[in-house]
Structures are given as structure tokens and as C-alpha cells.
């Protein structure tokens, strides 16, 4: 199993458990506008750096590619993203799927959070998460692909 050391270290960490299930009927994929939301801590060069347990998010235009990996944890591979942005942030792959008619369209804007958070993630759940969802809904996004880092 990959990353055995880190898995052993964090495998027992608590994570939020929810009373209500957020399951929704799915849109028709070939009509759906799809956005990427990643927790890789991506940012533009001139965006503020991330802070520990930072609940904020960064917004990227669909054509932005000059993105840096700014996640605060050292405990994952960085070389994959350095070689190919799509292994974390698959916007080009979504574009190809849209060209093939498999998805409806690629969203005009995409999002990154930074994955080193506290156990409850309360600020994201109650504040920045809903704010991000509102922004994506205003962009006409039907479906979000979450890539965890």
C-alpha cells in the first residue's frame, strides 16, 4: 500500500460524521457543467500563501495553468503535479471530455482549498464552503469533481 507511513499516522484521526446525507439526484452528465475543486493548496504566484488550517479558497479561470502547489504538508508526492498539472487538477481532461460530448461543458472557474485542516473543518463547512458553492452555482456549475490532496 502506498504511503504506508502517513496512512498509519493519520488513519485513526477523527473526521466529521454527519447526520444528514447530502446525496442529490445527479444531472445528466452530457448536459452538465463540471468544475474541479481540489484541496491541493493551488494558488497563483501573486495569491497570498496558505496558513495552517486556512479555510479560504482560491479561484482560477479555466485557462489558468501557471499554478503553484502550496499545500502546507510535506507528506505527499509533489513531483507528479510538477510534471503534469492534470494529475491533481484535470481541467485539460475535462476539456477533452467536453469535446467528446461526454460532459456538457467545463466550468469557467475552478477552486482550490488547502487540505491541512483541523478535525472539525467547521469554518469550511459553515462559511467558505457554502461561499464557494454559491460562486460555482452562479457560474452555472451542475457537478463538482473533488480531487483530494
Amino acid at each position: 500500500m502506498s504511503d504506508a507511513t502517513i496512512r498509519q499516522a493519520v488513519g485513526g484521526m477523527p473526521c466529521p460524521e454527519y447526520e444528514n446525507l447530502a446525496f442529490q439526484p445527479s444531472p445528466t452528465l452530457s448536459d452538465a457543467t463540471v468544475a474541479v475543486v481540489t484541496t491541493a493548496g493551488l494558488r497563483h504566484d501573486d495569491d497570498p500563501g496558505w496558513k495552517p488550517e486556512d479555510p479560504s479558497f482560491r479561484v482560477f479561470e479555466v485557462d489558468d495553468r501557471a499554478l503553484k502547489l502550496g499545500h502546507l504538508s510535506p507528506n505527499f508526492d509533489r513531483s507528479g503535479f510538477a510534471a503534469d498539472i492534470n494529475v491533481v487538477y484535470p481541467v485539460d481532461r475535462l476539456s477533452e471530455l467536453a469535446d467528446q460530448g461526454i460532459i456538457g461543458s467545463v466550468a469557467p472557474r475552478h477552486i482550490s482549498f488547502m487540505g491541512a485542516q483541523n478535525d472539525t473543518m467547521e469554518a469550511i463547512r459553515m462559511d467558505s464552503g457554502p461561499a464557494m458553492a454559491k460562486a460555482l452555482k452562479e457560474d452555472g456549475v451542475d457537478l463538482v469533481l473533488l480531487t483530494p490532496v
Partner: protein, 206 residues
Amino acid sequence: MRPHAENSKIPRALHCEFPLGRPLGKPGDAAFQIRVLQEAFALLDATEGPVLRDFPETIEDSAAQPLSCQVPPRVNSGQHAVLDEAAGVKPAYERALAESGRTNVGRVVSDASGIPGLLEGMVRIKDGTPWKEAGLPNNDVLEASKDIMSYYEEAAAALAGHIPAARAAETWFFAETEAGQLLKDVRQQLQDDGVPFGFYVAPMTQ
């Protein structure tokens, strides 16, 4: 990780046994990434949730196997070994940057020209200077360490001539370079000094 996905009742989740940092599995392999996306989008077929399925392929990391690439030989014995080494890998770093147009260097320095200064600060910490007096930008030891790691890992990929397996460049850096040993020494120094964040100077895998 799978238990977290189960406990959080994520509405639709595709569990992928891939190395951390590579959620789409294989950098440089568009066909594989498309397969992952297709499996993820197939979750939409479910009419009830939560849905948790497993991607059928596993990818292991290479943390135990350093990337096979040569650390450039020393050229300036009058310079500190780590600075000489950083200068030696610079052409490879610049090749990688020219090819990709991107770099992860830039957390506390504006570009790679700042790396020698970061290494000098780390040497001071290793030699006993308190971390707040070591002259690192914003005294940010952790972000400085990541800029150094990124510089070397990106250079390593150019030296090797191919995309490294997950963690292979990281292991090469910590096992075979002066700078990697320096960061391990800084980690130890900070831990000996009781500095709470010292542990995070280097990955726990190293």
C-alpha cells in the same frame, strides 16, 4: 482515505489506491486519467447513496527506491558543499522549468535565485543559530524547506529524463544530496531545541 470516506458518508466517492498527491493516478498519462474520471462519473448512475466504489487498479509509491539520477559533481571546493551542489543542479532545474513553464518554487523566494540564501539559513540553524535569527524570509522554516525540496525534485526529474514514480525524487533528495541531509539535520536540531514544528521540516517518510 477509504475509512474517512466511509465515515463521512460522502455522497459519491471513488476510492483510488494511488500515492498521495496523485489523485488522478499517473502524471503524463492522459488515457489513464480519463479512465479515472470515467469511473468517477459512473458514480452518477447511482440513484441512492452514499456510493463508495473502488478503482480497479492500484499504484504503489516508490519511497523505498530513490530516483536513479546523478548528483552533479562538485566544481567549487571553496564553496560550502550544499551551495556548490545547488549550483550544480541549477541547469537541470532550468531545463525542467523551460519545458514545463511551471515551478513550485516560490513560497518564500520569488524564484530559484533565492535558493542559495535559503540553504545558507538552514546551515545556520543546523550550526546552532536560533531559527528566528537564521535570516530565512519571514522566519518561515517550513515553507523554506518546501522551496528547497521543490527545486531539487524538479531538477531531479530533468536529470533522470522521465517523470519520477511517486516519492522517488523525494527519496533521492533526502538520501543522496547534501541539501536533503541538511534538512534532516535541521529537523533534528529543531526537535532537540523543543521547537514544535520541527518535525515538519521533512516528510515523515524520510
